[in-house]
Amino acid sequence: MTDTVNIQPGRSRLRAAFGYEERSAMIFLAPVMLVLMLVAVFPILYSLYLSFFRIKLTRPNRTPFVWLDNYTDLFGNELFWTSVARTVVFSVVSVSAIAVIALLVSLLLNQDFRFRRVLSTIILVPWAIPYVANALMWKWIYDSGYGALNGLLFQLDFISRYMVFLGDQNKTIYLIANAFVWKEVPLATILLLVSLKAIPSDLYAAARVDGATVWSRFVHVTLPAMKPGFLLVMIYETMMAIRHFDLFFILTEGGPGDASHVLSWHIYVETFRNLSFGSGAAMSYVLALVTFALSYIFIRTLGRRV
């Protein structure tokens, strides 16, 4: 290295800009970049390209280039807007429920008590199991003929006869959100617990000396310190909620009617049942952009720095 610098000053500039460190880093990073180009960057660009064509697998030989028609068509598509509304309801309900429940559970797990470790192991169970198994489990719990929820409400005398749950337009999206929340709370709890543990105990001691009550300590010390944790939970869970598919596929298939016809389900139906790949690609592109935009907004409003 040093030799080159002395003998050939002209090439050394290039070498310095693209020196030994850069070259070895490139070798180490090459595999990961190659893989991500192949499985992430290329598909997302290819999907943009596809979204400019009218591709119907039912007419494989005629795929006209239609510019932005697949996007502008969305404005007039009523079912698309229904699906957007359903997605918003589902995401808002489940993300706020996740935030509140995870806050309570993480405050609990931050205390010192005998079964803390047992409880923090138990809480990993929903996180670990597959979404399909989660969906199957809740489908059986919500079952209108023999389900556990009906049985429980009946035995506690809340209802006099079994009722329909998932088949009820007004309930179904909240019931699916409940299944989603159950599965997502553990991860959110762990993320919040990290920022709770990072609060220096001096802060509490100082607040106590100043005569702060439990509540004001919580509001003025704990909550502000948890901001980064909340930011992370909001971004991550919102991303997960607006793209969620598995529960809708197994529990309701978008039904009854269009009561749980969310965006991801709409994309699935458009692409794989109507076999319209162009507009499917356009919609999934919209979803990807919304995801990017939302994470950006969260970062700008909730926190200056991630």
Binding site: S24, F113, W140
Partner: protein, 318 residues
């Protein structure tokens, strides 16, 4: 607050004791509520997987099976050896033999095997690709380091459903539909960014001096990585293996698109097919569900410590 200071010490002490008792009580109740919230649905799934066809349709339900049976699990594990189950003898025409066991029951074990193979391959590829990248990002100061980190971060934000259409067309054109390799390849998109982040986080925590000392002793970068860093980063490697494995084991959407027959169907696909078939007994479906949740739960319980620390590491940067 000011009142307590002027009151006699005995009263103060009693209050303190009362506060401690009520605090402990609140924690106990809270812990019980959380444990029930988490475990009750799973317990019900397990309980109903041991119930007979007659018992599972009782109203109100039997919370604990009165006549527990292993028939559902037997059906899954012996499905391959039995006589061919056809449409005629499957749908519960014969109450004596139980019935309601689907002919697709024999697909469960192969699907579990497929899931295991796919997950294992994804784990291996994640390590091969992720470890060197994380080392470079954490320990080499080079131009474009931040850009590379942001790039990897961005790929994590892409929704999997946005990848489905392009993946499908490419894989169809390559003739790789219904092959486990299409799953292995696409699962890399959902696992690799997270792998890199956990490892970068961990490597950054290890002192730079280690790297320098190894280099002074004549190690190449690769030798420094393999001989010095890898042995030290075992906890984060365990976390990476677990995450990649569980993510692949649990993935549904991509598998739904790319698999068609039992040659490549993974466990979630076979399970999902059961749930949409109304002729299948609930107790059988639940037994299949239990089979699907047992391996991940065992993994989660054994490696609880690594999982939490891994999630934590991924969180700080993520």
């Amino acid at each position: 607050m000011t009142d307590t200071i002027h009151k006699p010490a005995v009263d103060y002490r009693r209050r303190q004791k009362l506060a401690r008792i009520s605090r402990n009580l609140a924690i106990l109740i809270g812990a019980l509520v959380v444990a029930i919230y988490v475990l009750a649905p799973v317990a019900w799934l397990v309980s109903s997987s041991f119930q007979t066809e007659a018992e599972i349709v009782s109203v109100p339900p039997h919370w604990i099976p009165e006549d527990p049976t292993l028939r559902n699990f037997e059906a899954i594990f012996t499905a391959g050896n039995e006589e061919e189950i056809t449409y005629e003898n499957r749908s519960g025409q014969d109450p004596a033999s139980g019935g309601y066991i689907p002919s697709t029951a024999k697909n469960l074990l192969p699907a579990m095997w497929n899931s295991t193979v796919v997950a294992t391959l994804v784990v291996i590829l994640n390590l091969l690709v992720g470890v060197p990248a994380a080392y470079a990002l954490a320990k080499i100061r080079f131009m474009g380091r931040d850009a590379s980190i942001y790039f990897i971060l961005m790929t994590r934000v892409i929704p999997d459903i946005a990848l489905v259409v392009p993946f499908f067309l490419v894989i169809k054109n390559l003739g790789m539909l219904d092959s486990i390799w299409s799953l292995v390849l696409t699962y890399l998109a959902v696992t690799v960014p997270f792998t890199v982040f956990i490892l970068v986080q961990y490597f950054e925590g290890l002192p730079d001096e280690l790297d320098k000392a190894a280099r002074v002793d004549g190690c190449s970068r690769i030798q420094a990585l393999v001989r010095v860093f890898l042995p030290l980063s075992l906890p984060s490697l365990v976390a990476v293996v677990l995450f990649a494995f569980l993510t692949s084991w649990n993935e549904f959407l991509l598998a739904l698109m790319f698999t068609q027959t039992s040659a490549s169907q993974t466990l979630p696909i076979v399970l999902a097919a059961f749930t949409s078939d109304f002729t299948i007994s609930f107790s059988f479906i639940n037994a299949a569900g239990v089979l699907a949740i047992v391996p991940p739960i065992i993994v989660a319980v054994i490696f609880e410590r690594y999982i939490v620390s891994g999630l934590t590491a991924g969180a700080v940067k993520g």
